[in-house]
């Protein structure tokens, strides 16, 4: 499949693409790709707001339907947990826990992860980093946890779906250096990545972790070719 050549597409082709995006007609890959372009191309964003604004006059036609009982309570329970129940043992092992956190909202999830991992330690050691990876327009959300002593990065996807015929690839970007691949990652299970010595040097507070959508097996060139579908900065916990 072509990659990136759309960016040199004609202005009219772009406008059509944006109209399809606004209507929701693009498939997952096309949608992600345009989301990435929208993030950096103000002209496309202007075009999108035109369509959204104009189409929004159809919103009257969505008929109201009384919401089922209990939804607000569940939303509040997730957003404002009154009593956090710290657990430590086996936490990482529980995919249900991670999925539950996804439901709790991303920011909350990351704080909770930081909190739970932090509980038994007297002071932050600076040897552990955590990053929350997400991007506007993308449903993929991940948490990455780096344990310097073990030399591993653990990844858990909180939301997002596998794309047929594609793989997600994780990259580390330190400062202005080119992105270094950390390999292909699954989104339907947790995974541990054992770091090479070079990667260990690259991972430090402030390193950006990014996930791109690549051909099956990962980028064939060693350079990211697909759109960034999630990214975040590693911070010490």
């Amino acid at each position: 499949m072509s990659t990136g050549d759309e960016s040199s597409g004609s202005a009219d082709g772009d406008r059509l693409l944006v109209a399809e995006y606004a209507l929701g007609l693009l498939d997952a890959v096309e949608h992600e790709r345009l989301s990435q372009r929208l993030a950096i191309e103000p002209e496309l964003r202007r075009e999108l707001s035109l369509w959204r604004l104009r189409l929004s006059s159809l919103d009257d036609e969505f008929a109201e339907a009384p919401a089922p009982a209990g939804v607000l309570e569940r939303v509040e329970a997730r957003l404002f947990p009154s009593a956090a129940t710290p657990r430590r043992v086996g936490l990482w092992e529980s995919l249900a826990f991670w999925r539950g956190l996804a439901a709790a909202g991303f920011a909350v999830a990351v704080v909770a992860v930081g909190f739970n991992l932090f509980v038994p330690r007297p002071l932050p050691t600076g040897e552990e980093l955590v990053a929350a990876l997400e991007a506007e327009g993308s449903s993929l959300k991940l948490v990455a946890f780096y344990d310097q002593r073990a030399g591993t990065v653990r990844i858990a996807a909180l939301s997002g779906a596998a794309v047929p015929g594609k793989d997600y690839e994780l990259w580390a970007i330190r400062g202005a250096s080119p992105a270094v691949s950390m390999g292909v990652i699954p989104v339907d299970s947790k995974s541990d990545i054992r770091l090479t010595d070079a990667l260990k040097r690259d991972l430090a507070p402030g390193t950006v972790l990014a996930v791109t959508l690549e051909p099956k097996g990962g980028s064939p060139t060693g350079v990211a070719t697909g759109p960034i579908v999630a990214k975040g900065v590693a911070i010490p916990i």
Partner: protein
Amino acid sequence: MPQSTAEIADLLARTALRDRAAFRELYRRTSAKLFGVALRILKDRAEAEEALQEVYVKIWQRADRYAAGGYSPISWLVAVARNHALDTLRARRPVADDIDVAIEIPDLAPDPEQATIGRGERARIDRCLGELEGDKAEAVRGAYLDGFSYDELAVRHKVPLNTMRTWLRRSLIKLRECLSA
């Protein structure tokens, strides 16, 4: 701005400031509309209920991004719900491999920046959809309001997929010309 619109804008602003009472009131005032959106697009009560929950979590988290960029507050809320429901559908749908069906794209109208926004929008889109042939206007509405994919639209209108793509793309070009005129 009608009074109710101003009130919703105010509730949204207070939600952005982490006012939980305002958030509850916002839910009370708008959840029926947003549930209606989720239900129409997802066509399944349990899924729509799940979506509604996610949508209000997002609204709480992103209320600060509502900046009245021409959008009414209720349109912004509808957009959050609609986009969430569409994301759910999209994640399930296959990715097209016949990436493109070439159609001739005539020149589009110039940049829309001068276009007036906000006055008689509803009348304008009705008039512009009215200028399309009946089937084609229906397809545009089906995509926007029901979240139908090209495949689903092709089946509903009993035309081949490529015909539907070509139809709809041509219609969008016409629609844009009319909307920015």
